[in-house]
């Protein structure tokens, strides 16, 4: 890759906080968040007016979390700068040097996206905070609000369902990517780590990056490919570098590497290296010559730009025309050659096996291990350890020397390795999934004849870990107080097959109904030992009840059941006394912390005034050469200063607490919504938000319980 231009900003650039805006409607300016709460604006085209100063700074004086530009107010015909901090959103018109609006955002601003939401005419600034997503228009009025499962870590717009209107994609810290259409969740995808970045590719495809160094592409909400690296990925961008009409995925890494990958296959097309971590990748017509350039910024403030396909064909492997055709054919030829070599080898291998089998293996059946060996796998619950046990066992005396299990979500890393000592023909793997997710475990078991073998057969086995594997079926369990009731018009054996799919150790045959219920199963959670009961009533047709004290689990089960039965609309009533009581406390605490905050702010203002007074005094004494009083003034200044710092710490602490509680509130709304499906679900979110705004606690409780507000 040969860069088209290269320059240094001379200032540090924070990771991910870079954007390009046309603040006067024409000339692009690179804007980057830098240390000490400043935004750096690099405007090379203003040189004529202001030859000294290509770079200017905006003081935000708070920790910047997101920097985005966009034409938020179409009437202005120019981009405005949107800056997010931990507690506020500021929209600033750089050209006029004026704020469009400044808004305190209680849930904090983790990430900002600019775009159009369905059913809202004007462009909006979408803000992702702690468990919430809100959208503001140019006046700063809130037009949209919804909750998510955890802190929002990335936002993007992409038309994933191919209906011509972009959906909002939300990546959160609980490893989920959600596609939102208005308030409705189209799909939830569970990834393997925090989703730090989502970028729309083209049409229904989008690219994503995870915290631990995975980049990949989704096509219509199913994964097209992904690659993992041991380095951390800092940023991704989608840009058509080879001029073939399809953008490539460009990834910038912690170790200073920039890779261009084919968006279809994930193959690396070319790469470049920097001396410092890559902070951001952006593209814009930065030289105003009508061609978009890809720009890469490092954390040290070095900038490099590339033009599409100008990037030196021979060096980058990107070719064009006849040469490209030839190169492609040559590559094809080499591929075919490689395939031939591989097949020849495999064929030779099988022929050799057959020959040996026929010559001496027939009687003994002895290969690396007996040739009729099989590997059996089963899952059992282990109540004592609170884990799910995976039993692996060979059908004869051959021993399992080592087991490697690849599975997402189950282990700390992406896999788990076991080396049992002494080796035997059965291995028990203790697994305790932290989350209720259905995963496929890909098991590789190395099996040999004895401990001293040097060759082992590798059994490859895929085994599904059901979503609710951590719930162990028991005959009797104490009845929990929390319940959720809903009606599903389905035959009980349908529900039974859902149980079989999502839990472990469920017998094939549904037991005959006894007592008041058609169906009754009891579980114990292996994590907390808390009971959980699922019943279907005999009297009221299809009335299903899930009893548990954990509202979240109940919600997960309702969602999973509805997916299985393909139910799209579901109303339910819920009663979770323990959770509600906790929620009540949370709300009280929110009030408390708010009150404390007010008080502290007032006190701080007093101290700040005192500081001013003291400085003036000290200055006076200095002029009068009254050293004694000067010293006194300064010592009290120091005192006040340390008071201020202490106050600040208190405030910061209080703020943290407040945030945590607000997150709880949002999570509660999310949990309540998850007990319903379809229309009822989005209605709960909207109604709850309304109730919170009006501070209507009773109303809020009723919505959570019944799914309707007082009026409905």
């Amino acid at each position: 890759m040969i860069p088209a231009f290269q320059f240094a900003l001379g200032h540090q650039v924070l990771q991910g906080l870079v954007t390009v805006g046309r603040y006067d409607g024409k000339r692009p300016c690179l804007s980057a968040g830098t240390t000490a709460g400043k935004v750096l604006i690099h405007c090379p085209h203003n040189r004529v007016e202001n030859p000294q100063n290509e770079v200017m700074f905006l003081n935000i004086n708070r920790k910047i979390t997101s920097v985005v530009t966009g034409m938020l107010n179409p009437a202005l015909q120019r981009d405005v700068l949107m800056v997010g901090t931990q507690t506020s959103l500021m929209v600033y018109d750089v050209e006029e040097n004026a704020d469009l609006f400044f808004k305190e955002v209680h849930d904090g601003v983790n990430v900002i996206a600019f775009g159009h939401l369905p059913a809202i005419e004007q462009p909006v600034c979408v803000v992702g905070g702690n468990c919430s997503v809100q959208a503001f228009d140019a006046e700063g009025s809130e037009l949209y609000w919804t909750v998510t499962g955890d802190n929002v870590s990335s936002l993007a717009f992409c038309d994933v369902d191919d209906d011509g209107h972009p959906e909002l994609l939300v990546g959160t810290e609980d490893f989920e990517i959600r596609a939102l259409k208005s308030e409705e969740v189209l799909k939830e995808i569970t990834e393997t780590d925090v989703v730090i970045r989502i970028e729309p590719l083209h049409k229904c495809r989008f690219a994503y990056a995870l915290m631990h160094g995975t980049v990949g592409v989704y096509d219509k909400l199913s994964r097209a490919w992904r690659v993992k690296s041991k380095n951390r990925v800092n940023c991704i961008d989608c840009f058509d570098l080879d001029n073939d009409g399809v953008p490539e995925l460009i990834a910038g890494w912690e170790n200073g590497k920039v890779e261009v990958r084919n968006e279809k296959s994930g193959e690396v097309m070319c790469k470049d290296y920097f001396q410092a971590p890559v902070a951001a990748l952006v593209h814009a017509d930065y030289r105003l010559d009508g061609r978009e350039t890809l720009m890469c910024l490092t954390s040290e403030g070095d900038v490099r730009g590339w033009l599409p396909s100008s990037s030196g064909a021979e060096h980058s492997g990107l070719r064009s025309g006849v040469a490209a055709q030839e190169a492609k054919e040559n590559d094809n030829w080499r591929d075919l050659q490689a395939q031939k070599a591989k097949l020849t080898q495999e064929l030779a291998s099988f022929k050799e096996q057959l020959k040996q089998y026929k010559s001496d293996g027939k009687e003994t059946g002895q290969g690396v291990i007996p040739t009729d060996t099989k590997l059996n796998a089963s899952l059992k619950a282990n109540k004592a350890h609170g884990t799910v046990e995976l039993h692996l066992m060979t059908t004869n005396y051959s021993v399992i020397r080592a087991v490697v299990i690849f599975a997402e979500h189950l282990f700390d890393g992406e896999a788990c390795m076991l080396h049992p000592l002494p080796p035997s023909n059965n291995v028990i793997v203790q697994i305790s999934p932290a989350k209720d997710v259905q995963t496929t475990m890909s098991i590789k078991a190395m099996t040999g004849v004895t401990v001293s073998s040097v060759q082992y057969h590798v059994f490859e086995l895929n085994y599904v870990m059901p979503k609710f594997a951590m719930y162990h079926q028991v005959d009797e369990a104490p009845v929990p107080s929390g319940t959720v009731n809903f009606v599903v018009q389905e035959r009980p054996n349908h529900i039974w097959s859902w149980l079989q799919r999502s839990f472990i150790s469920i017998p094939e045959q549904m037991p005959a109904p006894s007592g008041a219920n058609v169906l009754e199963v009891n579980f114990i959670s292996l994590r907390t030992n808390e009971p959980l009961c699922i019943t279907v009533s005999k009297e009221q047709a299809g009335l299903m009840t899930i009893r548990t004290d954990d509202m979240e689990t109940a919600g997960e089960m309702v969602q999973d059941l509805c997916n299985f039965l393909q139910v799209t609309e579901l109303e339910s009533t819920a009663n979770f006394p323990a959770e509600m009581e906790k929620f009540q406390q949370v709300l009280t605490r929110v009030d408390e912390y708010n009150a404390v905050r007010m008080k502290l702010t007032a006190e701080m203002a007093d101290s700040a005034n005192l500081v001013k007074a003291l400085i003036v005094k000290a200055e006076d004494y200095r002029m009068l050469s009254d050293m004694q009083h000067l010293k006194k003034a300064f010592s009290s200044l120091q005192q006040t200063n340390s008071d201020l710092i202490a106050e600040y710490n208190k405030r910061a602490n209080n703020h943290q607490q407040l945030l945590a509680q607000l997150k709880e509130v949002n999570m509660m709304i999310q949990k309540a919504a998850k007990l319903r499906m379809g229309h009822a679900k989005s209605r709960v979110v909207a109604a709850c938000r309304q109730a919170i705004k009006q501070n209507n606690i009773m109303g809020l409780f009723q919505i959570i319980r019944t799914g309707h507000d007082a009026s409905g």
Binding site: A36, K230, N330, L347, E352, K374
Partner: protein, 763 residues
């Protein structure tokens, strides 16, 4: 000068051993043929015709894997080493001689001249005259390469042997004439130009110009005659590659094979180096005349390089494609035979262009017309070429489809026999090498497989630090270990590759084994278990001798043990020992690669003395020997002299490292706050010069620190363990109460205070 060499894939045979490819001399035609022998035991001779491979002949399977192939130049005969026997073939493929030797070792190296045959095994050099034993030498360490040249006037040729113990040895018959110490374990030998045996211009007594390669990647040039052996130049092992940052390790891997040929047609011979990681390099040695005049005038310059991702086993050159080009021929581990040619026609991998060129040549086209080819070739020719090209494409596609069908059938057949496709025996070769790099003080386990590796699972029963290194995209996952398996980890390969390196560092004083399960991507799927032992004094490397003026601690042993006993006990502690004692009184000298402390040992039947300036080393030796002796029920008397002076020296040796790491750790902590100050204030002139320098070098400091995050802790542990061992050898079992104080001292590091602490008495 811009050199372009094009790759031609000639042949895919079974896995190959080193030195199993030869280019046949020019015959009736200008075009040369290639002989190659693989692990299936078949020797095949082939040539290129119209860009396609044609077999001249194939030998029947010789029963074992072929371990060496050589030419007897003057007589056009091919000799093959295969297990313990030697086979001789004529040019036409007739086996005219077969010798079954009474050797115990596999014949890895072979040299034939007239009626004389030299063979080299693991440790033994044998000479045969008319198929009868003539001489026999056991070398001090492993033979890595062997060749012969007329150095001494005498009836037979002299033998040059590259040995593992960092020596080139020259033998005349059974007698050693030269022992020439080189930079590292010698791994490859070659001549500059033709082999003197085949060079009619070469007279006995003329100096022989040789090239050698080492484990550390150095290539050296030396001049050898009856009186002396001199180094005349070398290719540095350090050279930055374009595109790779200076931070990345620029060390070059082990040299596998060497060759010289005038590839770029400059009139002088170019040096070809084939390396362990698959790098093929072409170096310009400058003027040929300068080379002969004992010293290289200018440093060699790299002309061209490529990487094949698997180790290069043999390297040669010749006119293969029929053009006027001198082409490079090489064979790789997995059995690929490749040619690299400067001919532009080879840019087309299908070989169509090459065929065309050949045709023209046959038609008697002049050199001139070939030169202008491409610019003036007629449309007709173009169309013809296109047709031929597509025909070749189709042929290959059909072949692939046929193979696919056949493979599917074979798989199904086998599945009928064994439903889980359990292999009778693996057909993929997997080999490994485990070696120390002294500059990084870490071990490198190199795994190489015939097919692409899918995953590697690692397990060790001692603590092993797996070091991250650039140049691999494999994903490492560690599992929580248990007391029996402190290390459980696995590598998942992301890019296809049949070769993998794992870097690791061990804690000195612990011994154990490391097992690696290597799973290649072949069907039926089998895993290969590779076990290497981790030795308690693993970070010690062999040196020629210890420096005499260093103060030493001493361990004296006496008892009814034999030399072999002591040797086997030592084998458990250190690497690089020969497999059995070579003298009645053995002398060893080692140096710790990390600290620089030394170990000297002298042992014979009934007594042994070990000296080291590191108390830890002595203590570890004592523990191991007493444990092993007890197991063998041999009563050994031990006496340890702890020399106070050694601690001062030990601490001084560690001092530069500790001091540097200490300062680095301090500086890293300051970088971020200082940067913020810089941004707030705009200028930093008011800062202390020391802080300013930190700010200036912030980037390097951070980079250095990232390279070795655990190093300070590692060094601290080393000092603490020296302290522990000091008192233990004086009879104090536990000094834990003092360790805390020592740790505090180390935190606020200062050489004097730590030294003082070491010499303080306890109680």
């Amino acid at each position: 000068m811009d050199v372009q060499l094009h790759r031609l894939d000639l042949l895919q045979c079974g896995a190959l051993q080193p030195g199993t490819l030869e280019v046949l001399p020019v015959g009736k035609k200008k075009q040369q043929k290639i002989a190659v022998g693989d692990d299936s035991g078949v020797l095949q001779v082939f040539y290129l015709k119209k860009g396609e491979v044609q077999y001249e002949w194939k030998s029947p399977a010789l029963g074992r894997e072929i371990s060496s192939v050589v030419m007897q130049m003057a007589k056009d005969k091919i000799f093959v080493g295969c297990g313990q026997s030697i086979h001789g073939f004529t040019r036409k493929g007739k086996e005219f001689v077969k010798i079954k030797t009474n050797l115990t070792e596999t014949i890895h190296h072979l040299f034939v001249e007239e009626n004389m045959i030299w063979t080299g095994g693991e440790y033994i050099l044998n000479i045969y005259d008319n198929c009868k034993d003539y001489g026999f030498v056991m070398t001090k360490d492993r033979i890595n390469d062997l060749t012969c040249a007329p150095v001494y006037p005498g009836e037979i040729l002299s033998t040059i042997v590259a040995c593992q113990d960092k020596c080139l040895r020259v033998f005349q018959g059974e007698k050693v004439f030269h022992e020439f110490a080189v930079e590292g374990s010698a791994t490859a030998l070659g001549f500059h130009g033709l082999s003197p045996v085949d060079n009619p211009a070469h007279h006995v007594g003329d100096p022989v110009q040789m090239i050698y390669g080492t484990e550390q990647g150095v290539v050296g040039l030396c001049s050898l005659d009856a009186k002396s052996m001199r180094r005349t130049g070398g290719v540095s092992d350090r050279q930055n590659r374009p595109g790779v940052g200076s931070g990345a390790s620029s060390r070059r891997p082990r040299v596998c094979c060497l060759h010289t040929a005038d590839v770029v047609k400059s009139g002088a011979l170019d040096l070809l180096v084939g390396r362990d990681d698959g790098t093929l390099e072409l170096w310009n040695l400058g003027d040929a005349a300068a080379f002969a005049s004992q010293r290289l005038e200018q440093a060699p310059t790299p002309l061209w390089e490529t990487c094949l991702q698997e180790s290069i086993q043999s390297l040669s050159s010749g006119h293969i494609t029929g053009g006027d080009y001198m082409e490079v021929i090489l064979a790789t581990y997995s059995g690929k035979v490749l040619a690299f040619t400067p001919s532009g026609a080879a840019r087309d991998p299908t070989g169509t262009q090459m065929a065309k060129q050949e045709e023209r040549e046959e038609a008697g086209a002049s050199v001139m017309s070939r030169m202008v080819k491409g610019t003036k070739s007629s449309d007709l020719e173009q169309a013809e070429m296109k047709q031929e090209r597509s025909r070749r494409f189709q042929a290959l596609e059909q072949e692939v489809a046929r193979l696919k069908a056949e493979t599917d059938k074979a798989r199904k057949d086998y599945q009928n026999l064994s439903s889980e496709q359990i292999a009778m025996q693996t057909t993929t070769k997997v080999s490994h090498r485990f070696g120390l790099t002294s500059e990084e003080a870490c071990y490198i386990l190199t795994l190489e497989s015939q097919a692409a590796i899918e995953l590697i699972a690692l397990r060790a029963d001692v603590e092993v630090d797996l070091l991250d290194h650039s140049g691999t995209s494999a994903i490492l996952s560690r599992s929580r270990g248990d007391p029996q398996n402190p290390l459980l980890a696995y590598y998942r390969m992301q890019e296809e590759g049949s070769r993998f390196q794992i870097r690791m560092r061990t804690v000195e004083g612990l011994s154990g084994t490391l097992s690696a399960f290597v799973v290649p991507e072949t069907q039926p799927k089998t895993a290969h278990l590779i076990t290497v032992s981790i030795k308690p004094l693993a970070l010690h490397e062999k040196i020629p001798e210890v420096s005499p003026e260093v103060p030493m601690n001493e361990l004296r042993l006496s008892g009814p043990f034999s030399v072999t006993d002591m040797h086997s006990w030592l084998m458990l502690c250190v690497n690089e020992l020969p497999s059995r004692p070579t003298d009645d009184e053995m002398v060893i000298a080692y140096r710790s690669t990390f600290v620089g402390t030394q170990l000297y040992g002298r042992y014979s039947k009934g007594s042994a003395i070990f000296r080291s300036d590191s108390i830890t080393t002595i203590s570890v030796l004592k523990d191991i020997i007493s444990k092993e002796a007890t197991a063998k029920k041999i009563q050994v008397q031990m006496h340890v002299d702890v020399n106070e002076e050694t601690f001062g020296r030990f601490l001084e040796l560690v001092h530069p490292k500790l001091n540097y790491q200490h300062a680095l750790t301090q500086q890293v902590r300051m970088v971020e706050p200082l940067r913020e100050v810089q941004l707030q204030e705009g200028e930093t002139k008011f800062l202390h010069p020391e802080l300013q320098s930190v700010l200036d070098q912030a980037h390097e400091i951070q980079q250095q620190f990232e390279l070795q995050p655990q190093k300070l802790a590692f060094l601290h542990n080393m000092v603490i363990s020296a302290y522990r061992h000091k008192w233990r050898l004086r009879g104090y079992q536990s000094v834990d109460h003092r360790i805390k104080d020592l740790q505090k001292l180390l935190e606020s590091y200062n050489l004097e205070s730590v030294s003082a602490f070491f010499s303080e008495s306890i109680d």
